[in-house]
Subunit: 360 residues, 4 copies
């Protein structure tokens, strides 16, 4: 079978390493190019990550000896791949420009970075929630004069603990008006080295720079619509997020209180909506799609990050403790694996969706 050749930009960082593991033996995609900063360029991949390979499985043999390219030199990617996963770590403006340049050179760009999340013709996709947002691609291409190139991005990782279960309710006809939530986020969300162990032993940090702002804005675009060739955010929902860093390696947890509009589902109906929820990734049989995108745990004290983050290839959102809220209508706990579902795995699922929809 002919697999699509892909590149990973920022391949030596932690998200890059996740791509390399998750794409190993992928049925549709084949890594044929890895790139990073000029420091790493021209080294064999194995050398470039010596002393900082963080995955629990070894570097795949097919990647070990690839020569690392310079992510800033787009010409180096030519002929090697047609899609690039972007996980570069640079100044935000520089990333925004670089990703545009890759796209204008004909590459499909699927990015983990926040640089283009609010660009009005760039889809920010959670594949189970707004797969139809990818339908802006023809408009994006036309507007920007691109032939085959495209840009699609994923949202901030932390909102993925709750956006799928909330969307399932919206899709079932229940307006969500207001939402107050607190997150307990894993340290891997900050990359490596990320938080100092001196801040994470016998401690939590009730602050993550920029995270609350993203958590309050991005859901509105994800739930938005395309109008006149651009995304218009849904402003009917208000979100307030408290974001905390906790001593957990992987797995973001969210404590969510929701207020519905006038029509309010009861708890049994919500459970039944969540249990029955399936979306494009499941219907299209995408290789990285979880079988059930929302898994509900019955136990009083679940989900918990170490015990539940790996459910269904670490691609499911795990939900629990659905109960009445004493102030709003309902509350619940959501959890997802932030470096898989929330980062590389989510981007790969988006790329699979792009492929299934014929955009690659």
């Amino acid at each position: 079978m002919n697999r699509i050749k892909v590149g990973v930009l920022g391949a030596t960082g932690m998200v890059g390493q996740n791509y390399i593991c998750l794409l190993n033996n992928h049925p549709w995609f084949e890594i044929n190019y890895v790139a990073a900063s000029p420091n790493s360029a021209n080294k064999r991949y194995e050398e470039a990550v010596a002393g900082r390979w963080h995955m629990s499985t070894p570097i795949p043999d097919s990647i070990r000896n690839l020569i690392v390219g310079d992510a800033n030199q787009i010409s180096q990617a030519q002929e090697k791949c047609s899609l690039v996963f972007s996980a570069v770590e640079m100044d935000k403006a520089a990333i925004a420009a670089l990703e545009l340049e890759y796209a204008s050179n004909g590459f499909a760009v699927v990015s983990n970075n926040s640089a283009h999340r609010l660009t009005d013709d760039v889809p920010m996709v959670i594949p189970e929630v707004n797969p139809h947002h990818l339908d802006i691609i023809p408009i994006q291409r036309k507007k920007r004069g691109w032939d085959r190139g495209l840009i699609a991005v994923k949202s901030n990782c932390s909102i993925q603990s709750y956006m799928t279960p909330i969307y399932a309710l919206i899709q079932a006809g229940y307006e969500v008006r207001r939402m107050i939530l607190s997150t307990l986020q894993a340290v891997s969300g900050a990359g490596y080295p990320g938080p100092s162990s001196l801040d994470m032993i016998d401690n939590i940090v009730p602050f993550i720079s920029g995270e609350e702002e993203k958590s309050e804005l991005e859901p509105l675009k994800v739930l938005g619509r395309i109008e006149d060739g651009a995304f218009v955010s849904d402003t009917s929902m208000k979100v307030s997020a408290h974001c905390n860093r906790v001593p957990v390696t992987h797995g973001h947890t969210a404590c969510v209180s929701l207020e519905f509009g006038d029509s309010k589902p009861d708890l049994d109906e919500i459970l039944s909506i969540w249990r029955g929820f399936h979306a494009a990734p499941q219907e299209l049989g995408l290789p990285s799609a979880p079988m059930d995108p929302i898994i509900y745990r019955e136990e009083a004290d679940r989900p918990q990050p170490r015990k539940d983050r790996d459910m269904d290839k670490a691609m499911a959102v795990v939900v629990g403790r659905l109960r009445k809220c004493n102030v709003f209508d309902i509350r619940f706990i959501g959890l997802h694996h932030n470096t898989v579902r929330g980062a590389a795995g989510g981007a790969i699922l988006t790329a699979e969706l792009l492929n299934a929809k014929g955009y690659l």
Copy 2:
């Protein structure tokens, strides 16, 4: 100087050990009696806690050789003390009965236990918030036919991270209508051994049995009034609490979103109210009172439990991150030391207040 002789019931447990350390060299109180379960009775205190002394300072010399009494035998306390701090761990109904019996035998009982928190003639006191609730004592004595005995209790530890700053705003004339909050609570809140390390390494647990219910009910009594000789809760405020256990030894953190009534202070005014707040413990110069009951940290990422829990003898509430809430009016982070301010230290402060008011 003549110090008041006190006893500690449940002296071998973790809260009991805290009492013993905090009352060492206390200017007003002197431990003259320690009691625990029948298992520990008749042993020297040092023997009774062998292998389970958890404090960072050694057992005070004055306590080391005290013979432990049986907490169930009230006669053993007679002649030895006139006030008992109750930190016994038994069945809740048994504690409720035992505390009443101590009081009817003439002892002042100050309790950490939840058994009498909702008893309608028992004051549940946060000394900076509702010191006037102690004025029910004459009514309590009269109603129950007690001569010198009394019962006063402290509230659940976790609400102390935010009740003092909220009360300061209420006292300044701002109604608080609704509040949604999430706590990140230390493991010591569950006593020893408490949570298993297997649940607290690379993990958090989004559930603490009974804690959300207490957090939603107790503030209403603390803010309530005395009517016809009994406490009537304030039902004008609605609270919704998500309670989480996190891998922190001591120090409960709360992420609080507040909705005011029609009159809304701006952020500067709130800061100024908090900074100027002083209450009975400060005015009366109680020995265990923090100098400033509310300490505001300016840094973007504070308060943090390991770094801030010990401020002002571990008796202050440390607050930070005051900012607009995207859904309600404001939000902030509150923190306090749960085994000092929230347990033994808070109860000692209540006893000091009882003494200053002439009830001992």
Copy 3:
């Protein structure tokens, strides 16, 4: 294919749960019976472990509805299985008697417990080190008048971090005379709940009851020989072990300093011995055998428990930092997964070896 029917005694505990996961879809063995204490007896397995299932995968469907037997009632196991894995938690003498009774009733007993480790006709087996010790089975049967029954046990988990690499050197002809080592052991080694989180946050405990004694005695039996129908320990090697508990969920690490006899291999030779080492489990192709029983990590700072414990199905010993010792001859770091390789997985490998050798 006809799989051998097996039972798990102590099936509700943590080691029991590991058996249930590891034996799921096992090619040779099929769980047909689970037993536990009288408390759990007569419940469905799922009910019996409600609230204390600690594995990251769900209860296998084939086990969920099994009715739990009473491990003390041997008759309940009859007809249901011919081999039992024993992970009961009781008084040691009671376990010793119970295991003998199962064996005398015709069951093959493979035990994780320490009760029979030093019984002189019971083999204590690390399958890569002393597979030939199983050849005492005919003697054991004859001596005890058993027809088909047998008992084989595994050693203490912590010695498995270093016994295989040390044995590889001994087998290559190098006497090991003295060994001083320190372990950093995971909390799961103590079962659930095990160490309190109050002892494992910002702390280590330099003591594990009974562990140093086992670590100093058991290697001598593992390296011993059969003489006159009984095991005789090798007393030519002296071991001194410091055992520490550290805040790690799974994975015991050992820092080992070794003194050889007169003939001393150089570092390159040792590496080459370790890399080439294969033993009975590999040669016989046992289903649970790691491909390479000793994996050497080249990096300066490996092995590390979270990153390396899962190598090769969590069944390999991972070694690193081989270097000259400033006092003895060499030193190195060894690591293994204590609840898989060191407990249920190791016992299953022993059972596979028993089967391959025709003793089942």
Copy 4:
């Protein structure tokens, strides 16, 4: 009283911050100058450490507004202080040169850095072990043509968990021939940010760069003698150290196995030597000296870092688990607070000793 004016070089780093807290209200020394890298120079101290003050007490008022100097500009220190505590973080050769230059300009330099530890006329002092090494100062001054300047350094922090108890035995007449030890070291030993939380959650790292080498060399100089105006190391003792990083904030633990020379004390005698041990700091009544430099804990599972590191102002070495070694003669556990006793506190004690001996 006239206090000696001192400066802190590297005042904004973690060790520098410890100096500032420990010297607050010191009876003999008064901080009159703080210096750091050019980045921090000319800022008020409070501004210079904004967002990275790690101490649990606030910046002392006397320091808050000091203008930070440039540590490289020695002239800025002139007139402001006569003694500098050096905790600068730079290239080792640059530090070595800079410290010499301060000394040749008349400053007493007491350094935490390793740059001059092996310089043969620089004393490396553990005040309870080799206070007489300071008597090289007149030789040092003469040889280098310094009038009032001097350099004295402290040893690597980790060896302080065991050097005092070992020296007490040597002083009592027992030769220590060989020693194999493993350390479990706190993350603060690496400064801030130090180890990533991703390496310290559910993990340990069995490697600290350069630490084993220092641990094997430095004890020999500390136990050495002055000969022909230079230090000659004691080469009669052999040390082998395994150094591990563990998830503990403060407090290094060591597991030590010792072999004596021909004369061997029994365990009771060792306990009695340790309990009776006092040295120059105690005899001279130095302000920072612990009352008992060696504290022995009787409990089976102590010392433990979180529970014992703060004993006696965090300046004592806490020892426990003395027992026979199965290979050498004895073994025990040692613990000390690495950022107080092992860093700033130890250096201040050395400066106090210099003052008591008349070298300031």
